[in-house]
Subunit: 217 residues, 2 copies
């Protein structure tokens, strides 16, 4: 029995790959693990059956055998630890790759989410225009530091790892803002991630769900 993940029945982004199941799909594709998808509507996400799986009423979740977990970072780490392909064998290199996973999710993503919230949830507020540049600058602080660390390297710590998978996924949310283009090495880094065959398969799979159900725009 392959693992089962959950994904939006209709992703809020209409299939641009920003829903977090894409991260999990990508990890599964990198390790060559086939999987099944259970689609969940916005209504069903807040109902007891799904809340039992995911206490915050979100996607994705991951079920395999007797294991049921949620939280994208945890799922990707579980996939990376239980299959070869996303973490180096050397123990120290492995700990560093996991460090980049946490850095993506807990240092780089929070200001990006705050920026996304400012655009999505506070767009109609009287302070929106004045506040947005402040929030954008908090994102730039992080991008500048990340760009310096990446330098001319292809990946954050030697070879591609779950850390890069997560960092690229987090940065992808900035694409529509154009902010990524201010950092040439970061936009090339993200493009390298998107060019991976496993990413493409993951992207196409989530897109198929959405184009099958939403009219093309």
């Amino acid at each position: 029995m392959p693992p089962i993940i959950t994904a939006f029945e209709r992703s809020p982004d209409g299939g641009k790959g920003l829903a977090r199941d894409t991260r999990v799909r990508w990890a599964l594709e990198e390790v060559g693990q086939n999987y099944e998808v259970r689609l969940v509507s916005f209504g069903a996400m807040k109902e007891p059956a799904h809340m039992a799986l995911h206490p915050f009423g979100q996607i994705p979740t991951f079920e395999e055998g007797g294991l049921a977990i949620f939280e994208t970072g945890a799922i990707v780490l579980h996939i990376a630890e239980s299959r070869a392909g996303l973490l180096p064998d050397d123990a120290n290199a492995r700990a560093r790759a996991i460090t980049w996973m946490f850095a993506a999710l807990n240092t780089v993503e929070p200001p990006i989410l705050e920026f996304a919230n400012a655009r999505l949830l506070e767009n109609d507020k009287p302070w929106s225009a004045q506040r947005l540049p402040l929030v954008a600058d908090r994102v730039r602080d992080r991008l500048t530091q990340l760009s310096r660390r990446l330098g001319k390297s292809d990946w954050l710590d030697g070879t591609f790892s779950a850390g890069d998978l997560m960092m690229v996924s987090v940065l992808l949310r900035l694409k529509p803002s154009g902010m990524l283009d201010e950092y040439r090495n970061l936009s090339a880094y993200v493009a390298r991630g998107e060019a991976r065959p496993a990413y493409k398969r993951a992207f196409d799979a989530q897109l198929a769900v959405n184009t099958g159900q939403l009219p093309r725009r």
Copy 2:
């Protein structure tokens, strides 16, 4: 040689335990691992020597033998995986405990940080009073869900784990706001964490650094 961590020479909170080295100290105390601390000034944090260790110019870092990592979540996970006491032996229970670590850092902490930013960084802005309740409600959404999941349990998944260590640490930042008191089981949960001897030792150790260098208020 015991591991070496870094901490603020002077913590911005003056020793209230909110600086993230407290999380790492707590983890080290739970597994009974002694450690050394290198204090870093705000200036030194942004200098090349420290930026080489921590690309985002923050604390804590963790060095042991040939390994140097940053990012609190990664450090706590590394401690939990390399010593007994913070993760269950059963593989599925282990994955669930790690899930709670990520949930603390990537689902519960971001709105709490946004709330903290609203109070600290945007306190003087014209929108501050109007915006703060909106941001507080985003925190409440998460706390309500977390409170439902915790229910009458002592810990999030059976016995105390690195997941609880991280969740309690994340929730502690809300204490001054009084928001935690709206959720009786969550404030009791945080109090249970604070009552652990390992937490107390960690708290006292970070406090000693700060009271030794800052005048008492």
